[in-house]
Symmetry: C2
Subunit: 175 residues, 2 copies
């Protein structure tokens, strides 16, 4: 049961000693797990995974973004993106257009099919958020939004707020 040189078991639960906020750490894990479980179920019907969802999401949010910009947002390598993006293009969820200024670039746009899937995936997530905001009562949307934004690395906050609420895509002022 216990190996030869095994350390002694600690029988007391870890406490909030050192001011460690275990409650929220744990809550964040559970919340994110369930948050992603809704779209995961839908994606399975398409043979897609979470990576496809992320690509689809950002292409719909910033139509016309280039491959390099997408890589920068997702923080993955191009080899990792390649497989996923190829599948989304082959299944006609996303199309590539040659960049108008720089013909080396590939601007990514959703098709009607890709737009529809993005919406279908976001719907249960949005429903969950709305319900959580209601259930938690007092918490107003803005304060949750501010908290989540503050959780993001400062250098990377530029990636957020790129979408100007209503107006159309092609508005990438970064890089």
């Amino acid at each position: 049961m216990t190996s030869p040189a095994a350390g002694k078991p600690i029988r007391t639960a870890i406490t909030d000693e050192d001011g460690i906020d275990f409650a929220i750490i744990e809550l964040f894990f559970f919340a994110y797990r369930d948050f992603t479980s809704d779209p995961d179920q839908i994606l399975a019907d398409y043979g897609f995974g979470r990576a496809h969802h992320r690509v689809l999401h950002f292409v719909n949010r910033r139509p016309g973004l280039t491959v390099a910009e997408l890589l920068d947002v997702l923080k993955i390598t191009k080899q990792s993106l390649a497989r996923v993006l190829k599948q989304l293009i082959d299944t006609d969820h996303i199309v590539q257009l040659q960049g108008p200024r720089d013909r080396r670039q590939r601007e990514l746009y959703p098709t009607a099919k890709g737009r529809a899937l993005a919406l279908a995936l976001a719907r249960p997530q949005s429903r969950r958020i709305r319900a959580a905001l209601e259930d938690s009562g007092t918490a107003d949307r803005a304060s949750i939004e501010r908290f989540l934004e503050a959780m993001v690395n400062p250098e990377l906050r530029a990636q957020i707020d790129i979408v100007p609420a209503q107006t159309s895509g092609k508005k990438n002022g970064d890089h």
Copy 2:
């Protein structure tokens, strides 16, 4: 560039039409990504991954939990847990004790080494949370906690709150 029967590109960004809360959906993605990046860096030094972190976290939070209980909290299969748990035991971060009542069970406890690593991993996460709470100003801790808890599937909320704040482990009233 465009394949034969490709759909037409949609050039407008997806809107908050249909009442979809894209802002918070996206924020949640960025926040969780950065939230996990801190411990990921530390884990790399040990040759561990995120799965090790989760096991270590819950064994420290509920010392004496059984393998079955751990599987239930993590919502993974025993085959998936096996490798990770074995490594943590082999490296003397966790020890197993035969269950006192039911000798088939294996109660999991952290060693001093495992406790120390769990704390080291939680520290930057807690720091990030504290900073985010401060930065976001108004948002009081309790409302964030309530929101995150409300994001979790109702059936699974029992898993939370198991740890009674200060008292020791062995208090698993579920199942």
